[in-house]
Symmetry: C2
Subunit: 395 residues, 2 copies
């Protein structure tokens, strides 16, 4: 397979590159051909031989997903569960925390909208309290604030989104993790926007759960995600609120036994074509190397920020001392629909965020929408320059 600097070869292995300038990798990236073929072949096999029979014949490819995910996260296959999405993975983890009325959940202003809604639902229903830590002057959660709130409120759970969906910010999940480990507090990390664009090491982060998706930076299928579950969680006997026959064995009329490993957090039925495609996607990323991917993505994103900043009336919104492949910008006096029309017309795929996607962050930045450009390693400087050229012409 091509190396990271062999861009032409990487692009020719990505069918979509011939059709679009795809700068929407933080939405869903273009899958490389080996991922597409793994899924289509699996679906064909199922149609010829049956769903259960194909599963039995492909045990190796299915185990390959868990092996590859474990390598990506520097952990063991027994700590990996497949899920239908990052949110699905996140919900299963959250449902396992034994919250009682009055318990505190400590999070950040920049945590993902779906997580914030889930926290507020628990606040309404279980009468927990949701607290949010203060930010650093340069943006991103302030570990000192986390520490003070932990000492004052002794939270049951700390939950941090590694990379917010509408910002180039990378939050310092390792610093928060050290605080959680010192105090033995359950720690849940949302890596939906970081998995696949930078190295992730479960021991360095020190988390108990980490959720992620396949369709974004990992270049896998839609409708697939993963959950890392620490040995601490497994040994403490935490399990999802509603386990099924994959997660437990029904041993007496009124008793079941949970599984020993992270499969405890899975449902029995899975989209195996997507799981096999996910395995292929993770292997593809591992073969390229996550350190190199991060360098390439970060360089393209910085170039994008520079080019956008040079345009009159454009406000690049990304904050934080460490930034990633997500670039967000507000265009004074312009309408997002006009920008979208111009970009679509030029075959350029991008994303737009609105206040409901990042309520606290957008209010603070004083914007109610933002354009999001998210280059991956297979994008080129020329593609970014072309997108900026199109944007510059929108009146």
């Amino acid at each position: 397979m091509p190396a990271l600097n062999e861009i032409a070869a990487l692009r020719s292995e990505t069918p979509g590159c011939a059709h679009h300038i795809h700068l929407n990798n933080a939405g869903a990236s273009l899958v490389p051909r080996p991922v597409l073929e793994a899924m289509q072949n699996y679906l064909t096999e199922e149609s010829l031989h049956g769903g259960y029979e194909t599963f039995a014949a492909h045990a190796g490819a299915i185990a390959g997903f868990y092996d590859a995910m474990a390598k990506l996260l520097h952990t063991n296959p027994r700590n990996i569960a497949f899920a239908g999405s990052a949110t699905d993975a996140y919900a299963r983890a959250l449902s396992a925390i034994p919250f009682e009325a009055g318990d505190v959940l400590l999070t950040t202003d920049d945590d993902y909208v779906s997580n914030q809604i889930a926290f507020l639902s628990l606040q309404n229903k279980l009468k927990i309290r949701v607290l949010r830590a203060a930010k650093l002057p340069e943006g991103g959660v302030d570990p000192q604030s986390v520490k003070e709130l932990m000492e004052k409120h002794r939270p049951k759970l700390v939950a941090v989104t590694h990379v917010p969906t509408n910002s180039g910010l990378v939050q310092d999940v390792e610093a928060v993790g050290r605080l959680c480990r010192e105090r033995e507090v359950w720690y849940l990390v949302d890596a939906c926007q970081s998995a696949g664009q930078m190295p992730l090491d479960m021991a360095e982060i020190g988390c108990d759960f980490l959720s992620g998706t396949m369709r974004k930076w990992l270049r896998g299928p839609r409708g697939a995600g993963f959950l890392f579950v620490s040995d601490r969680v497994l040994e403490a006997g935490l399990e999802p609120l509603l386990p099924d026959m994959a997660g437990a064995v029904w041993v007496e009329n009124d008793r079941y036994l949970p599984m020993d490993d992270a499969r405890r957090f899975e449902f029995w039925e899975k989209p195996f074509a997507l799981l096999v495609g996910s395995g292929a996607a993770v292997k593809y990323a591992l073969d390229l190397g996550l350190g190199g991917i991060e360098r390439q993505v970060t360089a393209l994103a910085e170039h994008t920020r520079q080019q956008l900043s040079a345009l009159a009336g454009v406000l690049v919104l990304d904050r934080g001392s460490r930034r990633c492949g997500i670039v967000t910008a507000f265009f004074e006096g312009k309408k997002p629909a006009d920008l979208k029309k111009a970009l679509d017309g030029a075959g350029i795929n991008t994303g737009f965020g609105a206040t409901v996607n990042a309520l606290i962050d957008f209010k603070e930045k004083g914007v109610d929408w933002a354009l999001r450009l998210s280059p991956h390693y297979y994008n080129t400087h020329a593609e970014i320059d072309r997108a900026v050229e199109v944007l510059a012409k929108v009146s």
Copy 2:
């Protein structure tokens, strides 16, 4: 498209029929070509144009899933949610019931293993009580017992599996539904093994939630399911324990608004290739007609039971006054591994159940395993006779 009596044409539209005698439709059935093509084409489109961009371009096909499901269940598209599996749909429904310590959940001996595990988990964690209604002499839940237990214990939820996974039994969900409606008790039906093999009418059943899968009798993909949500549920403001940005809008830092319709029970991210394939599968079933499908499936299953009963030492286990396409049998003195080897060798796909899959039912029947043959409308008498012939020769 072919009609139900044009078996040769239906089989030629089912690629797997050329490779196997597929009597494992209660596991996962063989998909017809239009379903396979819908999924593969969608995945190809995503690879060429991007996941979000393909979604935007296929709004019609995606809405088609909700329209078709609504027709199948005789309800409205606004009452349909997509899910990753029947179990996933079931868990979201169960998580919405506002249980308090001491509340009673009333179910049956024949409810599905994964549901039983979920009930026991709630019994452990929320301190609810799980009660199981008595059975009729001929098998299946006794509505009189349900009525008496409802009057005595006033359950918060009644939960009934329409067709158990390891038995040809069809439970009388309509009779239980009338009792629930008279008393305004929440009513959850698991239709995992009935959707696609018989007509289902939400008003006749009188349920508040009904969950189902795509891969079994509906001949759709693995990793896809659905949830019916009644207007009663929506108007009462019930929502899943952990909604996300598909189910709610984040409107203030500490407040969200749930969606009006059943999307409240969905996650935002979905496997859209499988959703579009699911829509194609449901349309295929609707075009053939569910009444005709049930007659054909039931006739093939009865033929299977007759042929198996004629073999020495074979105990057909299916009970109930109404039976469906699932045929289960115990072979005295035989080992399941030997039966499986002989069937596999002859290219015949079947399933096997063990005690952990149907703890109460199998204990009562005095067996610790059962062979499951589940013909669909595209199977033939000759295929069944061939399977019985192979089974008769196993020593």
